[in-house]
């Protein structure tokens, strides 16, 4: 039997994204900010007005169909993010998905956005290549480390749909901490990527920050303390009157190390507490930092475990990972909602795995 075709929609945050998959293969994946001239900047401050999901969604949908070279009749199922996220954003995607479902009689599967990030390493490109090309049955149990601007969490995964959250951030998410330190350094928004870039040029050990949650016994994270430490350290350095250029790279280096160390301590602890796992899945926009991706890879492989990470375009929010979850649930025998069943579907802004 030919693999089923799933349309995935995500409007949980800044971008409107729609993708079409055949099985785990991505036929098309459109993110609204890509529909602009390369090197665009209009969408940088991803505030509400510029999100414009309502304005974007039809165009993104048409582009996804066009690029995938499929018709609406080929779609076997629609997968839609129903949480977590901002209520007014989620509503746009859900309304659009319900409309499509009703109009074309296509079953609709509500998907947890975080499950999308979690399974994103299992996406394959249009030619069918990726990190896990064969069966995924022997992958689990694994751990998952998910880090973005909104989330930082660590989970145990015993199979598709079988998740147990082991720890999460108590305050800021890791990506948010990067952006806020960028702000403290007067970089503009979003400063996080610049902090990562500048850290490359910095020397280790010149500016040292405390390692958050080093001595806590659980698997939770906290980054607000390091934010305060960064604020004070920057004030101190500025008061010394030294040229910003002289210390800013070392400052970023120190900050990135401290964030990495604090997460690494928790990930190691989780790995040691879960000796039966076979690998670690990672996902989320923080892994756009090649350094983060590489260093966690080294840590995981150091335990002789497999390391699974998404391709660059699937690290941030995207519709492909939502379609993937939809497909994997279908394979597990789950059925989508149709007709009257759709009425009960509503956004759940605080949805958790």
């Amino acid at each position: 039997m030919k693999d089923r075709v799933v349309l995935g929609i995500d409007t949980s945050c800044d971008d409107t994204s729609i993708a079409i998959l055949r099985g785990r293969k991505v036929l098309s994946s459109i993110v609204s900010s890509q529909l602009e001239i390369h090197a665009q900047y209009g969408g940088v401050v991803p505030n509400i007005a510029r999100r414009e999901h309502e304005k974007n969604i039809q165009g993104v949908f048409e582009e996804a169909l066009r690029k995938a070279k499929v018709g609406i009749g080929d779609i076997d199922c629609i997968a839609i993010t129903y949480g977590p996220g901002l209520a007014i954003d989620l509503e746009v995607g859900i309304a659009f998905a319900k409309e499509l479902s009703t109009k074309y009689n296509i079953p609709l599967l509500p998907i947890n956005h975080m499950e999308g990030h979690l399974l994103s390493p299992l996406l394959l490109n249009s030619k069918g290549s990726g990190l896990v090309e064969g069966s995924i049955d022997n992958l689990f149990p694994t751990l998952a480390l998910l880090m973005s601007g909104k989330h930082t969490e660590i989970l145990r995964v015993d199979g598709i749909g079988k998740y147990e959250k082991l720890g999460q951030t108590l305050d800021d998410a890791a990506g948010e901490a990067f952006d806020k330190v960028g702000r403290i350094l007067n970089f503009g928004y979003p400063g996080g990527p610049v902090v990562s870039e500048f850290a490359k040029k910095g020397k280790r050990g010149e500016v040292v920050f405390p390692i958050p949650m080093r001595n806590s016994n659980d698997l939770n994270f906290s980054f607000s303390g390091i934010k305060t430490a960064a604020l004070y350290k920057s004030k101190e350095l500025r008061e010394e009157g030294r040229d910003e250029k002289e210390w800013v790279y070392d400052f970023c280096r120190g900050f990135v190390n401290s964030v990495y160390e604090s997460i690494a301590i928790k990930l190691s602890k989780a790995i040691e507490q879960n000796p039966s796992i076979r690998g670690v899945l990672v996902g989320g926009g923080v892994f756009n930092s090649e350094e983060m991706l590489r260093r966690f890879g080294k840590l995981v492989r150091g335990y002789s475990l497999e390391y699974y990470f998404p391709e660059k375009e699937y690290r941030g929010d995207n519709g492909a990972m939502i379609a993937l979850v939809g497909y994997l649930h279908l394979e597990n025998g789950k059925e989508g909602l149709l007709g009257k069943e759709l009425e009960g579907l509503d956004r759940e802004p605080r949805l958790s795995l």
Binding site: E36, Y41, V45, I48, A49, D172, E176, G188
Partner: protein
């Protein structure tokens, strides 16, 4: 189309390029990140030609390249944040978004009135722009979805004939190092003047308010405890109120909100709403809304979902409330909702002074 191979002929290249630019021509030029496509950014006709080259869809903007901060300041407002970037980190692979001065048009000007400006770290290109005396467009020379152009032969292969035919000059310096595209930094959000203005309005408002509680906390836990105690004494799940929080990054706003939520009976971990904008927490039969205005711009408060929460008579905790203090205040007054203003001050690295005013 002419292809100029660059070796020791810099002067000739600069001269020729300026001639082409002044006639409204399209030039493919090198930068430290990739080959870009440039036209005179002040020439509307040339910009139209560029859009044709790019097979432009939608209305998203194109950034410009200048040779100096002085040139940039003719076209954009350089605020304190932008000043920092220009002074310390440019030329380099950073595009700085600032508010335009009104002398440039779309697609260089965005619909929000902002312009992205770059100073490429590539001497030949800087020489060209400096000599030309005006900014040129700074967008990569490839089509959307095609790979970043690091060498001319690859680029020519990837370009549709229609686009290639529009090119007047190619400056070929050979294979460029494979550096990532420039990082875009927006300096128009939360400018110091906006934050100062908000803080001022907030502080003027609380002068008239009655101070009801004040505590100095020495740990995050103590800040959370203050939130808990305040909630216990002053809040009731059936009476809608707004807690308007004001204080610097890391001053303890989220810690305080944790305590409020915990006392109300929220079971989940309450964490930062900065990215989601509003987090909703269920407790008994009610919802606690925890909001952060940090990522909202001027007129966006009304579109955030805040009004819906006020209408639903939920308790709403708002971080960075000072940014929108007037709006929040008048919304609450109109709907007869009580406001508590809560101010967070840093006393030292670990000490905070938290003061609560009855609005």
């Amino acid at each position: 189309m002419e292809r100029l191979i660059v070796n020791n002929n810099t002067q000739e290249v600069v001269k020729k390029t300026c001639e082409v630019l002044s006639k409204g021509g399209l030039v493919i030029y090198p930068t430290e990140t990739c080959y870009g496509i440039g036209v005179d950014a002040t020439n509307e006709k040339a910009l139209k030609k560029l859009l044709k080259y790019k097979k432009f869809r939608g209305s998203k903007p194109i950034s410009i390249a200048v040779s100096s901060k002085e040139m940039a300041s003719k076209y954009v407002e350089i605020n304190e944040m932008a000043q920092n970037i220009y002074t310390n980190y440019l030329p380099g692979p950073i595009t700085v978004v600032s508010i335009g001065k009104g002398n440039l048009v779309p697609p260089v000007l965005s619909s929000q009135g902002s312009i992205g400006v770059r100073i490429p770290d590539y001497q030949l290109t800087l020489d060209i722009i400096e000599t030309y005396g005006k900014p040129i467009t700074a967008t990569s020379a490839n089509m959307s979805y095609k790979s970043t152009p690091y060498n001319i032969d690859q680029l020519r292969k990837d370009l549709p004939k229609k686009s290639l035919d529009l090119v007047d000059l190619i400056i070929d310096v050979g294979e460029l190092p494979k550096n990532p595209p420039s990082t875009v930094l927006d300096t128009t959000l939360n400018t110091l003047s906006v934050l100062r203005q908000g803080k001022l309005e907030f502080e003027q408002a609380i002068v008239q308010n009655k101070k009801i509680e004040q505590r100095i906390t020495k740990t995050p836990e103590q800040t959370t405890k203050f939130g808990y105690d305040f909630s216990k004494q002053y809040l009731s799940k059936d009476i809608p109120v707004v807690l308007a929080l004001s204080g610097e990054l890391g001053a303890g706003k989220t810690q305080f909100a944790k305590g409020v939520g915990e006392q109300l009976g929220v079971q989940e971990i309450i964490n930062s709403p900065t990215y989601t904008i509003i987090n909703e927490y269920k407790y008994s039969d009610k919802t606690l809304a925890h909001m952060d205005t940090w990522r909202l711009m001027d007129d966006e408060l009304s579109k955030s979902g805040l009004i819906e929460h006020l209408e639903a008579k939920n308790i709403v905790v708002i971080e960075w409330a000072d940014k929108f203090y007037q709006e929040i205040r008048s919304l609450c007054d109109n709907m007869n909702i009580k406001v508590y203003n809560i101010k967070f001050n840093y006393l030292s690295l670990s000490e905070r002074e938290i003061t609560i005013y009855e609005g």
